[in-house]
């Protein structure tokens, strides 16, 4: 329902802004035809049709064998009147796993560049910043972890935000401010498509125990602010970040433990990225201040954390790139956590994670073989993402891939998804 409202609002905005334009150009050339359509600039239409199918390779008693089966038509409409850019991009989906049709509005925004020091983007948009490769510290824009693990294209990991982005450019530095009037959470794991560790039940669960959430949901009161101050010095990119909002995925429970909640969260961080030797190095950290539980005593709310990331990418042979990252997530007030723990196995204070990305291009770069691996030596779990993509011609691509999970324990981040291990195949026609 809200989606429809947004489309209608945008269409109305389109017409209103167009009608209130200083009418010089339109008035002089269009004397005979005064209909509103004659004033609309041409609309570019692009998009793709994507069809994919995937199955679980292990028996999962809480989920269907079919991990993904969907047809998706994305339409990407853009128009460029003199005063700004208009964009609407949405997916019509036939989902054969949920046996439902759906519409996912990915983007619906207006971009304005009123002067040399300001850019504005208003509406539904995909937002990204930070230096990690499939690891996010200071990028607190919504993610779609469900899409990521069931084998949709990587672009779906980024869920859209309904926000206002103002970018200010100066000689000294540049500043991005993103205001989200109503909290946009992650499209998080909730048991509907992926089985997961349920700490209340102390076992794996899925469709039988779908997570119910109590989400901060009121416009303007439950808002998010994110900012980035950045500067490029000799092609070393420095940035400072700040965020005021909520944990993006459920990170606590209400007192009766019947609903998952999104407690208050503030994040402060910094990053740098630049050339080191033959490759690109990056360094990022963030302090996650769990504002509803500053002392760490409340067992129902996640503690504050420090998060660190260091990464390096290099071309190791022709059309062959390797990237490694080391990530550390460190729980604050660990002794409080341990002494107040209600049930279940305790988490470690430190979660170490290593990632490796290998990408090889073959056959005139029409065949891309890639492998992304997360390995946590502390959680003793692994997530492997192999993918082979072949561009049959300028419009058509074929793809196979997998999401493989291993783990010694069922309660660790990747270990809990073991039974969701899946393989998929897909086809995409772009136009």
């Amino acid at each position: 329902m809200t989606r429809f409202r947004i489309i209608i609002t945008l269409a109305a905005l389109w017409m209103v802004t167009d009608a209130t334009l200083p009418a010089e150009t339109a008035a002089s050339e269009e004397k005979t035809d005064n209909s509103i359509f004659s004033k609309l600039p041409p609309i570019e239409i692009h998009g793709f049709y994507d069809s994919r199918t995937g199955y679980r390779t292990r028996n999962d008693k809480y989920e269907k064998d079919m991990s993904i089966m969907e047809d998706r038509l994305q339409l990407d409409l853009s128009s460029y009147p003199e005063w700004g850019d208009l964009k609407v991009k949405g997916d019509v989906i036939g989902d054969w796993v949920t046996e439902r049709g759906d519409f996912d509005l990915r983007e619906a925004n207006i971009f304005l560049r009123p002067n040399d020091f300001l850019d504005l983007k208003v509406g539904r948009q995909v937002l990204t910043w930070g230096t990690g490769d499939l690891i996010f510290i200071n990028d607190l824009f919504p993610k779609d972890w469900q899409s990521f693990f069931i084998g949709r294209d990587n672009e779906y990991l980024k869920a859209p935000s309904d926000a206002l982005k103002a970018s200010l450019f100066g000689d000294w530095a540049n500043l991005d401010i993103v205001y989200t009037p109503r909290f946009d959470p992650d499209r998080h794991i909730d048991g509907t498509r992926l089985s997961y560790w349920n700490s209340n039940l102390a076992r794996l669960a899925g469709e039988d125990a779908v997570i119910h959430t109590d989400k901060p949901n009121s416009w303007f009161r439950d808002s998010e602010f994110a900012a980035r101050l950045y500067k490029n010095i000799n092609n070393y990119e420095f940035a400072l970040y700040g965020y005021r909002g909520y944990w993006k995925s459920p990170s606590g429970q209400n007192d009766s433990m019947s609903q998952a909640i999104f407690p208050d969260l503030n994040v402060y961080g910094a990053s740098v990225r630049g050339a080191i030797g033959k490759g690109i190095g990056n360094l990022e950290f963030g302090y996650y201040e769990s504002a509803d539980d500053l002392t760490g005593k409340n067992p129902l709310i996640d503690n504050s954390q420090m998060r660190y990331l260091v990464g390096y990418t290099q071309e190791i042979a022709k059309d062959f790139t390797a990237g490694v990252q080391y990530y550390l997530e460190q729980m604050q007030d660990f002794s409080q956590y341990k002494s107040n723990l209600i049930s279940g196995p305790a988490r470690d204070r430190d979660r170490h994670l290593i990632t490796l990305r290998l990408t090889k291009l073959l056959m005139n770069q029409n065949l891309r073989c890639s492998l992304f691996t997360y390995y946590s030596p502390s959680d003793k779990d692994v997530h492997i993402r192999p993918n082979i993509n072949y561009k049959l011609n300028d419009n058509t691509a074929l793809e196979i891939g997998g999401n493989i999970f291993f783990g010694d324990y069922s309660n660790t981040f990747f270990g809990q998804f073991q039974n969701n291990t899946n393989v998929y195949a897909g086809m995409r026609y772009s136009f």
């Binding site: 560049r113 540049n174 490029n232 990119e237 050339a275 022709k318 029409n366 561009k391 011609n393 419009n395």
Partner: protein, 269 residues
Amino acid sequence: MKQILTIILILGLSLPLFAAGENGPSNEVPDVETIVNKANIVAYYQGKDGKAKVKMTVTNKQDQKRRHEFNILRKDTEDGGDQKYFVYFLRPPDVRKMVYMVHKKADPDKDDNRWLYMPAFDLVKRIAAGDKRTSFVGSDFLYEDVSGRSLKEDTHELIETADKFFVVKNIPKKPDTVEFSYYNVSIDRKTYVPMKMEFYDKENKLYRVIESAKVEMIQKFPTVVKSVVSDLKTGSKTEMEFADVKYDIGLKDIFQERYLRRPPREVTR
């Protein structure tokens, strides 16, 4: 004796003048460094900046075609020195609106800085400085063909002075970093446009040819508007056609993150 000395002196002084004259009579042969420097400027540094619409068609041995379209913009930091490139992709559809940006270093010991913007993710990605002799977006052109190979990478030898062309042989100083043993460039004596480049493999066999198929005068600058590269080993061929070429457009510094995320209209049109 005195007269002869005077004549030699006059000739000696006027020689470089002749060589520098754009369309002057080219009976005199400049030295090889002058030739390659001028050819390099003509091929890669015309004007202070420039833009073009490029259509690139890759045709493989089986006659299958792939078509790319992109707008390319360039700004020189200094003639023969560092440059900045901005490539905005229009085709094929899966790379539409992607932007590739390079801060190119003329010094072969320094690496270029490269970025890629992926619109579906709103992601500004830093790309590791790669092997410059890697295919440019899957075509038979290499990155180095598009943005130029540093003159300092090779030694140059003038091996032939024909009616219309100087033929310069280029031998790499670091042979193990490249796949060729040498390449010959035929440079137009009048315009200094490199008309043909012939690459020889380690067995001294010709395996790769780049030809300037069509040259036009644009704003007084001789400009290659059609370039064809043939890979004799794979039987693959790539044609690059340049349209709407403009020089000295007064390009401001668009080579930064702001314009990667949302390029100005002059780039996207």
